[in-house]
Symmetry: C2
């Protein structure tokens, strides 16, 4: 029988109406039941996961990707811990954002409410399944998950276990649904299900996200791609710059808050570039530099290769970084605003005025003064959770925690007021 996305949407919308009325205690109790059930049923998850892993090996999937796919007792334990941590976070739903009274006596209250139904399209590890569920559930949202076909058996088992755990505490299992037909057609139908889905969050590579933006009629939050820059200003502490660049480029290369491009003030280039190159070369980072770097710092020529225009706009997600020389902070800002994906950028400087100019002028979600771009993360920000990092300006920008999964409504109290 064909998968009926409309039926899934309708059921999720119905579930959302009952979820928005749950108390924080009821939600936390359910999350704990889910965590327990994941542990208790880990043998089922592992045996279903083994099918996905076998199929991936059959297809010749790379060992790195197979490692991301694999679930064992330890990883399932981590999933359960993650669900329990969400239970421990404070619940934003029902929070009074603002209230005021109008001259006609109307009292207006602005209250945080759930979004309703959230769709998540992801291609990554199966632990995203329990993670996305717990964040959406804690904020009173129903969630429709569409994971990748590579993890379909694992995801199906995890969602089945979550649904049974919800039923065991008298909560509608339609709080979470999995789209088990991973065909492109069904994904496209999901993107256009604005009748039932209030928000769509794609999590994955640039291709997935662009596909969703191109095709969705459901409102989307773009997440994830990060062509992050670090600008070393004329007055920078060079040791600090080296530490921050080394951390932002090499601590974890495949992540969206890693540094992909360096800008160096021309007056510090001769001193800074050889030291930066030496540091990055210890991790075999390829440095693709503009012509001016070769001219100003000929001694470092052997450590650099010429950059193409395209390099400045590329999120490498690996051991490559682009480098450009700029004549001042204004040129740095202009370069970044031209090439950035609006994720995270940093200035290293001792000049507070230049720092403020940079922080105000760069059009990105997170702008840093003397710190690594790697801090753009819901946990590092203290949100206690993260559903993704928004690179758009509508609704949420930067790391998204529980608050960013909420909307609001106005409750207006009168005693018979009519408009004159």
């Amino acid at each position: 029988m064909a998968f009926d996305i409309n039926e899934t949407g309708r059921a999720a919308k119905d579930a959302a109406f009952s979820l928005q009325a749950l108390s924080c205690d009821e939600k936390n109790k359910a999350l704990c039941a889910v965590a327990d059930a994941l542990i208790k049923n880990s043998a089922l998850i592992i045996s279903e996961n083994a099918k996905d892993v076998a199929a991936a090996k059959e297809k010749g999937t790379s060992p790195a990707l197979i490692d991301r796919l694999c679930l064992d007792e330890k990883r399932i334990g981590d999933m359960a811990v993650g669900v329990r941590q969400v239970a421990g976070l404070s619940d934003p739903i029902g929070e009074l954002i603002d209230k005021w009274e109008r001259p006609n006596g109307l009292r207006i209250e602005k209250i945080k409410v759930p979004m309703g139904v959230i769709g998540i399209i992801y291609e990554s590890r199966p632990n995203v399944t329990s993670d996305a569920f717990s964040l959406c559930f804690k904020t009173g949202n129903a969630v429709i998950l569409r994971g990748g076909s590579d993890a379909i058996n694992s995801n199906t088992a995890i969602v089945k276990i979550i649904r049974e755990a919800l039923e065991s505490v008298d909560i509608t299992p339609d709080a979470v649904s999995l789209i088990t037909d991973t065909s492109r057609d069904v994904a496209n139908e999901m993107m256009r299900l604005d009748k039932y889905i209030d928000l769509l969050i794609p999590r994955g590579g640039a291709g997935l996200i662009r596909n969703v933006v191109e095709n969705a009629t459901v409102p989307v939050i773009e997440t994830g791609t990060g062509n992050c820059h670090i600008f070393v200003d004329e007055s920078a502490d060079i040791d600090m710059a080296i530490d921050i660049i080394f951390n932002a480029k090499t601590q974890r290369m495949g992540v969206c808050n890693a540094c992909e491009s360096l800008l160096v003030h021309e007056k510090i280039a001769e001193k800074a570039i050889p030291a930066i190159c030496k540091s990055l070369k210890t991790k075999d980072i390829e440095i693709r530099a503009g012509q001016k770097a070769f001219t100003l710092v000929p001694d470092s020529a052997a450590d650099m290769i010429p950059a193409t225009e395209e390099d400045y706009g590329t999120e490498f997600l690996g051991p490559v970084i682009s480098l450009q020389i700029v004549s001042d902070v204004d040129e740095a800002i202009a370069h970044i605003n031209r090439y950035t994906t609006h994720h995270s950028e940093a200035i290293i400087t001792k000049d507070a005025a230049n720092a403020e100019k940079f922080l105000n002028g760069v059009d990105s979600a997170c702008v840093y003064f003397n710190a690594s771009t790697r801090f753009t993360d819901g946990f590092e920000f203290g949100f206690g959770a993260e559903i993704g990092i928004s690179t758009q300006k509508l609704h949420a920008r930067g790391p998204m925690g529980l608050n960013e999964l909420t909307s609001y409504k106005y409750k207006i109290y009168g005693d018979g007021q009519v408009r004159g």
Copy 2:
């Protein structure tokens, strides 16, 4: 020469970078210059408007629509007053939303910033042109306007005057652009210009809005359509109910916050419905009622005609209202959540518990207890302005004023922190 939407987008994006840095005083000075220029050049606006009016008459446009199109000294004066009022509002840009310090010493500030470039697609009166410009400009946004072809000469004149006024105070005229090619192709290109446009707000009928939602890759805020309900509960004060229903249905019929559907508790139907019918009949309102109303209140049968299923989902925008009998507040909530456009709904009751159940359970932007739905309006809420009324949950919900035209960014201050 063909209209180059890419060039318009690029220029607007460049303008947005300079606008975000303007002080509140600079913006207010520019708005006053614009208001002065509109008055000073009213003869030009009137003569260009006359071309649009003549073309509309030629086409056989209805007198009501021609009246909406017409500009005279008085209406241009009102436009200028509107621009000056926006200058008088407080400026949200740069406002500190939140700040905190992390254990590692990073200080995080969350600051209100402009959206960047806002696109407005509208089909209504030419005064929207100055109105939309002033709200976007006050919040540091560049705006690209795409008005209807019926008002093209009027809009062209107004935008030319605004651009010249901006230049006279040394502000980039690209803060506002008008798409002078009103073909559908160019509108479609605009909707897909996410490279330059950060937010698209369609203002107009349901058809226009649906077209934008279907086609846009730029993030959209849906505005405007309102199938608004009033529920008369068992314990309602009938006189209050009649006043509120009369106001919400008849005070202005063509607007989105007018009442389109009545729900009446079965236990009050016999007393309430004849009085409601009598009141609405003074304004010749057609009442389309469900079968149960005919059964319960046969005496009112002559004042009602049978409703179809479709009537419950229709925004009439005229002298028609649907009516259904419900057995309790739960059935009222379920009916509304099934048929509403999520705009504004009201409960008339003396029962505070039922009121709270209704306000929490109804999934709409604005929910009223004993007051008219007609108060859903930026001015009535005290925002001092309104760019539209959002019926979606992402970013903004309900009346949108200056605050809703802003995004935020995180400024993070460190002293060399790297991630461990």
